[in-house]
């Protein structure tokens, strides 16, 4: 049970024991009330919740998309399949499921930069990127990136040359988009696994380039109550 975030969090208030937790905030009270009523109604099984949450904190995240990208960089035939039928090519690596049933991959080149948004809600390709970060769900990003993508990207640290065509993809229907970033120069000698470690979440959304330096893979560190993560899956 020590790996169960539920049993170690604020919801243990009522479970007795020696904890002295802070009082519940209004939103915590609502969440608890809803879970208790849905559990009592047989609609929700708390162990199902635990399993789903664990999966998205540990197994489903941008390290999956990074494997897709690295494979496309080293294997031209795979890249071809990925750009033709992304859902199928991604499934080859074992990834699929909710919010990933209808995938399209858009490829960055020296002349074209792609960036993804969902202006109407926060659609996002969960199987390859996990759950979206807060900025992706923020009104500021959703409102502005379709209107002034260059300004938004520059604020986020990505300055694009005038000559580059910016393509913003609004996930308004059932397709979910993954950006295939450019392979950085100076990575010719790296193995597929090493390449995957370079690929960040933001590069696959389109708000960053991939750098040749070996940095930590971007999120998720999965919250204060979870064990530390490996940098590569």
């Amino acid at each position: 049970m020590s790996d169960d975030p539920h049993d170690r969090d604020a919801h243990t208030h009522d479970h007795g024991g020696g904890h002295h937790p802070a009082p519940l905030s209004p939103v915590e009270m609502r969440a608890r009330a809803l879970e208790e009523l849905l559990t009592a109604a047989g609609i929700v099984d708390p162990t199902f919740i635990d399993g789903v949450v664990n999966a998205y904190e540990r197994d489903i995240g941008p390290m999956n998309g990074a494997r897709v990208v690295a494979r496309a960089w080293v294997d031209p035939a795979y890249r071809g399949r990925l750009l033709t039928d992304a859902t199928k090519a991604i499934a080859e690596l074992g990834f699929g499921g909710p919010e990933g049933e209808h995938m399209v991959v858009v490829e960055n080149t020296p002349d074209v930069h792609n960036v993804v948004v969902c202006t109407l809600c926060s659609c996002y390709p969960w199987p390859v990127l996990g759950l979206p970060p807060n900025w992706y769900k923020s009104p500021a990003y959703r409102a502005r990136v379709v209107r002034e993508p260059r300004a938004v990207l520059a604020e986020m640290g990505l300055v694009l040359a005038e000559s580059v065509e910016v393509r913003v993809w609004d996930s308004s229907a059932e397709i979910r988009y993954l950006v295939l970033p450019e392979r950085p120069p100076g990575t010719e000698t790296l193995a597929e696994e090493e390449l995957a470690a370079l690929v960040t979440r933001d590069a696959m959304i389109g708000t960053a380039h991939v750098a040749a330096r070996h940095g930590p893979i971007s999120p998720p560190p999965s919250g204060s109550t979870s064990p530390p993560r490996q940098q590569t899956p």
Partner: protein, 217 residues
């Protein structure tokens, strides 16, 4: 609906705030809410369309104030109350001050959706438009759920991709009708959408159901 959720092209929201090394969940209650949504989706108690519309119907000020998982919780609870799976009074009694739910759907939501479909001849089998066609987004104003964003309505774009027929959200959010239509990837130049001085190379790609589109004259 022309709702608060339809944010594309809105001004006034300031800078995008990025949190370094952001965790998947920030608070334990967010985990529980996400898990509940997954459980409800898994048991097919609702479609994504009905769920999205419930979130959209939140009081606009609450929508902007609430973090993502609070919006998720509000939409989910609203939907389950509306579908008779939860008793509102019981829910309210569990939370001091009551459990805020979204507003009811607009009384004309279904008829507005039906009007949109009635106006076009869509066919699951044979897409009406081809890749390369110039199309115009119909300037429709349905008061129910729609996935036709306001910022492209009335504008011209070029079809870049034809996707398989998907269920039209406008009807599915309000009825049991699984009306399927071809869906298109449409490219809109930034100058078409925003102004002659926009970066001329740039473009926005929006995915649109066939009922949202019309041929250009």
């Amino acid at each position: 609906m022309n709702g608060i959720h339809d944010l594309g092209g809105m001004d006034g929201f300031g800078r995008v705030v990025v949190e370094a090394a952001e965790p998947v969940f920030h608070q334990p209650w967010e985990r529980r809410v996400f898990g509940m949504l997954a459980a409800v989706a898994f048991t097919r108690l609702t479609s994504a369309h009905g769920y999205r519309h419930a979130v959209e119907r939140m009081d606009p000020e609450h929508y902007l104030r609430a973090p993502y998982y609070e919006r998720m919780m509000t939409g989910l609870a609203t939907l389950l109350v509306e579908r008779g799976k939860l008793d509102r009074a019981t829910l309210d009694a569990r939370v001091p001050g009551g459990f805020p739910l979204a507003q009811p759907a607009h009384p004309n939501a279904t008829s507005d959706a039906e009007e949109i479909v009635a106006d076009t001849r869509t066919s699951e089998a044979s897409p009406r438009f081809r890749v390369g066609d110039t199309v115009r987004v119909r300037d429709v104003q349905p008061r129910g759920h729609t996935r036709c964003p306001r910022y492209v309505r009335g504008h011209r774009g070029v079809v870049v991709r034809i996707d398989r027929p998907f269920t039209l959200p406008d009807l599915a959010a309000h009825t049991d009708r699984d009306h399927r239509e071809p869906t298109y990837g449409v490219r809109f130049s930034a100058t078409e959408l925003w102004s002659a001085s926009a970066a001329t190379r740039d473009a926005v790609y929006v995915d649109l159901w066939e009922s949202y589109l019309e041929a250009t004259r």
